[in-house]
């Protein structure tokens, strides 16, 4: 476990379990998972297919709830949050980067980046300002008025990164961010994440590719739902 500067980790998981019940079958996706992420850290979660990486990321991102255990985000337990509060935390503290980019095809690049900001009580001028800065950070300002279908995969993922950082979240959660990209574009996105981390962003990335895991400060290895290794890179 790597605590942050003041001793309180940004993310702290204790004895996290996740069980799926389907047609009388119990599937233990996560078993007694402990780990923490400090502010400013860049952590990779890796492991073979079906080991529980994405389930863990979903719990970290408040997209799913654990079957047991404790999850503290920025020192606060998230166990008893209402759905509305969970939505608020997702919106303000977490930025998502998905493998399939998940840009909304009916919105322009700028509108996609603006999307999380629209769920906040934020003035339009500030939203525009933040969108412009986010796009600038990923060097996609020139494509602001395009629709996702008009972009390449790499460009789409850059826009997805811009959308994730636009709200200035406490942590970026990236789920196989290079999974749908060729190696050149994959490297570029990794470079982008590295830059973001160097500028202070906390990042937790799921990947099954050891090459990309090396970009992180530390790798948490999962196997059959258990943390088997937490190694500094």
């Amino acid at each position: 476990m790597a605590p942050n500067g003041n001793g309180t980790p940004l993310i702290k998981l204790e004895s996290i379990k996740k069980v799926f019940y389907t047609d009388e079958v119990e599937t233990h996706a996560l078993i007694d998972v402990h780990f923490a992420i400090a502010k400013g850290e860049y952590v990779a979660i890796s492991g073979p297919s079906g080991c529980g990486k994405t389930t863990l990321l979903s719990i970290l991102g408040l997209l799913d709830t654990p079957s047991g255990g404790e999850y503290d985000l920025a020192g606060e337990s998230v166990a008893r949050l209402t759905p509305v509060d969970r939505a608020r935390v997702r919106n303000r503290q977490i930025g998502f980067i998905f493998q399939a980019f998940n840009l909304i095809g009916d919105l322009t690049v700028a509108e996609n980046v603006e999307l999380p900001l629209t769920y906040r009580e934020m003035a339009a001028s500030e939203r525009k300002d933040r969108v412009a800065k986010a796009l600038e950070r990923v060097q996609m300002s020139h494509r602001a008025k395009h629709f996702p279908a008009q972009l390449s995969g790499g460009q789409q993922q850059r826009v997805a990164v811009a959308r994730a950082v636009a709200g200035d979240p406490a942590i970026l959660l990236a789920d196989e961010p290079t999974g749908n990209l060729d190696s050149k574009n994959g490297e570029a996105v990794m470079e982008l994440l590295r830059e973001l981390n160097q500028n202070g962003s906390t990042i937790c990335m799921v990947t099954h590719d050891a090459r990309y895991a090396q970009h992180a400060d530390r790798t948490v290895e999962l196997f059959d739902g258990r943390v088997v290794e937490a190694a500094a890179v």
């Binding site: 994405t54 909304i104 095809g105």
Partner: protein, 831 residues
């Protein structure tokens, strides 16, 4: 909000064809409802255009009314008052600002030497003050115009009449107008939009009640046993209906018991008790007084039910569309939720889309409503079409908008909730191109289509019942061949003729009309044939004792010499009337077969004597028996009728003429009018039409219900088939991979088609059975509206079910064929 609207518009434009079909579906549903609502609002909801209509009340006097009663379109005779009772109540009451009395009458008007047949109203002097109206020109009638019998020859005309007949002449006040033979002075014009207090009637002239004899309204005004006036009143400020009812009965009951009861002679004790217990009713009167309120309710509610079902079917399509769209956007919703959107915000966004769709449907619906109303106008006879305004007024627009919003919210809600359910991870991982949809949604979609089929089946069956009934009506044996007959009516009395002059006029008319080229025969009758008119009388029959008075109540008509021959109605026995049967000659009658049957006269009817009216003298000899012909309308059984020659009647003032021609009857109408104008240019010719036209107008409600319900049922079936097609297409698209696997494993095209058609069959069978059940219940409820048809008529049921099944199978066949054309290689590569 604006962002939601922008996005909603973008979503609709993204799939213009699907959005267009959805908008059109909704437009048909909402438009049909808006059209029916327009009629509903005009006939049943609209308040009188007067000051504070909510303060008006109608008075009614139910209970035994021995003596004579007379009613018209303002309401049944149960609610009419005698003239003395009106004046008593008017003088003594304290709870109203005033009580007004009125009575509609047929008015032959002379305007600038042109005869016009219109409606007029006799009104008490309090009528306009109670309504609180301001004249458009001059002044309105006041109590001073109605204080002395026969003294004030003054009249108020309607705004529309002033506009149409006087060209809005600013010098209208003081101009003369001839009303039923007497000249009145126009003192003012009623305000624009005011057409009296009786929906469906648009009188053009208001005359003081005390001038009743001058306009030939010969009710027995002095008698307390003659009930003919309609009353309404305005509540004083602070007085409610309950208080008014109590106060008015405190006046009414003593008059009934102390003044009127002693006037009733030979009244049995039971009736006397009921007579003395009579109470005056005070009811809300904002809508005025009209028979239409009672008569139109059932047909309009029936049409509302039908159009409501059409809308439900359209809405089911929208819900299915939104569900399919929602499934296609599951990833988007998941991403939005992951980015921090609350479910409420997403539901609001999706509802904005469905409401926008519905509002667009609502806008197009106004066009559909206009077309529907035009269609209804085409079905209505001119007099009925004239009383309705078939334009889009604000209540109809508000109704359409309101219905659109409600439709958008109600039918967008389940899809919106379903699309934003908390299956975030599944939604996000499904990927943008994959269609997701849970079992609940699939069940919901199938249930919606099944419900659509059920509704369409029941609508088709009910419309088939009405259509078969209408066919029975149009094929009914009238007893008279109407194809080459034309007809018109005149009221000589209202044009100032006395009885003797009337008789001369009618005889001359028969002669002149017979001379018109193409005319083969002419007949005339006091009671128009098959025109919803009747005339009944209680008679005595030689050798027959009626156990109850009603047993000897029969219909009668007074007809011309040669009447039956001219109409080609064969005589079953005896002879036809001839010129010798005139005033002063022995009184004669012809009876119909129903008369012979009821009174069991067998072959001995001719030569028997009857009385003409409720007298003891059997002084009218039956000289012939005529074949039955329909009397007041097509649907009623032919009643027992006795005919007498009108030339033996001392009171013939009005007459209907029947002209048989070898030409198409419509070609001769002009010549008929010209002939009558030659005889007397000041005599209005009324109801000039062909007999087939007359019959159609008599059957107007049957035609309207039959044709409209069929039209709506076909629209409903079309919408349901679109729904079925949409759901199956969606299902096939969703199951492409499965179908590919099946085909890879050896399924042939036929078995794949069977797979899809089995789904169709399931929905059709369940929906069809539900629809048949509903139609059986509807058929039972509508039995009274069907003519010579049972509510479970097997032909109607079979035809409707076969039609529905054929359309449904066709709608299902296209997606089934598409499914069977799936290329397994492509399908398995599907991502």
């Amino acid at each position: 909000m604006m962002r939601n609207l922008r996005l909603a518009a973008r979503m609709l434009l993204k799939t213009p064809f699907v959005s267009g079909v959805a908008v059109l579906s909704l437009a048909l549903g909402i438009g049909a409802n808006a059209a029916i609502f327009s009629i509903f609002e005009q006939l049943l909801l609209r308040e009188l255009p007067v000051r504070e209509p909510g303060q008006l009340v109608n008075l009614a006097a139910p209970g035994p009314k021995p003596g004579s009663t007379s009613s018209n379109d303002a309401g049944r005779s149960t609610i009419t008052f005698s003239y003395p009772m009106f004046r008593d109540l008017e003088k003594r009451q304290t709870v109203f600002t005033g009580i007004a009395a009125h009575k509609l009458f047929s008015a032959s008007l002379g305007v600038r030497n042109e005869p016009v047949a219109e409606r007029g109203v006799l009104v008490s002097g309090s009528y306009f003050p109670v309504l609180g109206l301001t004249p458009a020109k001059g002044r309105l009638l006041s109590p001073d115009d109605d204080d002395v019998k026969g003294a004030h020859y003054v009249a108020v005309i309607s705004y529309a009449f002033w506009e149409n007949k006087f060209g809005k002449d600013p010098g209208i006040v003081g101009q003369p107008i001839v009303v039923n033979g007497n000249t009145f002075s126009i003192i003012g014009v009623a305000p624009q939009g005011f057409d009296g207090t009786t929906v469906s009637q648009m009188p053009v002239v208001w005359i003081p009640l005390e001038m009743r004899e001058q306009v030939q309204v010969r009710e027995d005004a002095e008698s307390r046993r003659s009930y003919w006036l309609y009353l309404f009143a305005r509540l004083k400020p602070g007085v409610n209906i309950e208080t008014a009812r109590t106060a008015m009965n405190a006046l009414y009951r003593p008059i009934v018991t102390d003044v009127e009861a002693p006037l009733q002679v030979k009244m049995d004790s039971v009736t006397m008790r009921a007579f003395k217990a009579k109470l005056l009713r005070v009811e809300p009167g904002a809508r005025g007084q009209s028979q239409v309120h009672e008569e139109a309710t059932t047909p309009i509610m029936l049409l509302f039910l039908v159009t409501g079902m059409v809308l439900l079917i359209a809405c089911a399509n929208i819900a299915n569309l939104l569900l399919a769209r929602g499934a296609g956007r599951a990833t988007e919703m998941g991403v939005r939720l992951a980015l921090g959107a609350t479910r409420r915000a997403l539901v609001a966004q999706l509802l904005t889309e469905s409401v926008l769709l519905a509002l667009l449907g609502g806008v197009v619906a106004l066009l559909v409503a206009q077309w529907t109303m035009s269609g209804i106008v085409a079905l209505l006879p001119p007099f009925a079409a004239a009383m309705l305004q078939f334009s889009l007024r604000w209540p109809v627009i508000a109704f359409a908008v309101g219905l659109s919003v409600v439709t958008g919210v109600v039918f967008g809600l389940f899809p919106a909730l379903h699309s934003t359910r908390n299956d975030l991870i599944g939604a996000i991982r499904a990927g943008a191109n994959q269609i997701t949809g849970g079992r609940a949604a699939a069940r919901f979609r199938a249930a919606l289509v099944t419900a659509q089929i059920a509704l369409s089946t029941s609508l088709l069956i009910v419309s088939a019942l009405f259509l078969r009934s209408l066919m029975n009506v149009s094929r009914a044996d009238l007893g008279v061949r109407v194809e080459h007959l034309a007809t018109f009516s005149v009221d000589a009395r209202r044009a100032g003729y006395d009885t003797a002059r009337s008789a001369v006029l009618f005889s001359r008319a028969e002669e002149e009309l017979t001379a018109v080229p193409g005319v083969t025969a002419v007949a005339s009758a006091r009671v128009p044939l098959i025109a919803n008119s009747d005339w009944e009388s209680t008679i005595k029959i030689q050798g027959h004792d009626c156990s109850a008075e009603s047993e000897c109540q029969v219909a009668l008509n007074r007809v011309s010499a040669g009447f039956f021959g001219a109409l080609n109605v064969p005589m079953v026995g005896g002879r036809e009337f001839s010129a010798v049967d005139r005033l002063g000659a022995p009184k004669v009658a012809i009876v119909n077969q129903a008369f012979v049957k009821r009174y069991k006269l067998g072959d001995h009817a001719v030569g028997k004597y009857i009385s003409d009216g409720n007298t003891d003298s059997l002084n009218v000899e039956i000289v012939g028996v005529a074949r039955d012909i329909k009397y007041a309308n097509v649907k009623d059984e032919v009643p027992p009728v006795f005919y007498t020659p009108w030339r033996q009647d001392a009171h013939a003032g009005d007459m209907s003429f029947y002209v048989r021609t070898s030409l198409p009857p419509a070609q001769i109408l002009g010549a008929m009018r010209a002939t009558m104008q030659r005889l007397d240019p000041n005599l209005p010719v009324e109801e000039l039409k062909t007999m087939p036209q007359q019959i159609r107008e008599t059957n107007v409600f049957d035609r309207m219900i039959g044709i409209l319900s069929l039209a709506f049922a076909l629209v409903a079936t079309m919408l349901a088939s679109i729904g079925l097609y949409g759901v199956l297409s969606y299902t096939v698209a969703q199951r492409t991979r499965e179908i590919g696997v099946r085909m890879a494993l050896g399924a042939d095209a036929r078995s794949v088609r069977r797979l899809v058609m089995r789904q169709v069959a399931g929905m059709v069978v369940i929906g069809g059975l539900l629809g048949i059940g509903a139609a059986l219940a509807a058929g039972r409820a509508a039995r009274n509206m069907l003519y010579q048809l049972e509510g479970y008529d097997p032909v109607a049921f079979t035809v409707a079910v076969l039609l529905l099944a054929s359309v449904a199978l066709l709608a299902g066949w296209i997606p089934a064929r598409r499914a069977s054309a799936v290329d397994p290689m492509q399908a398995l590569r599907y991502d």
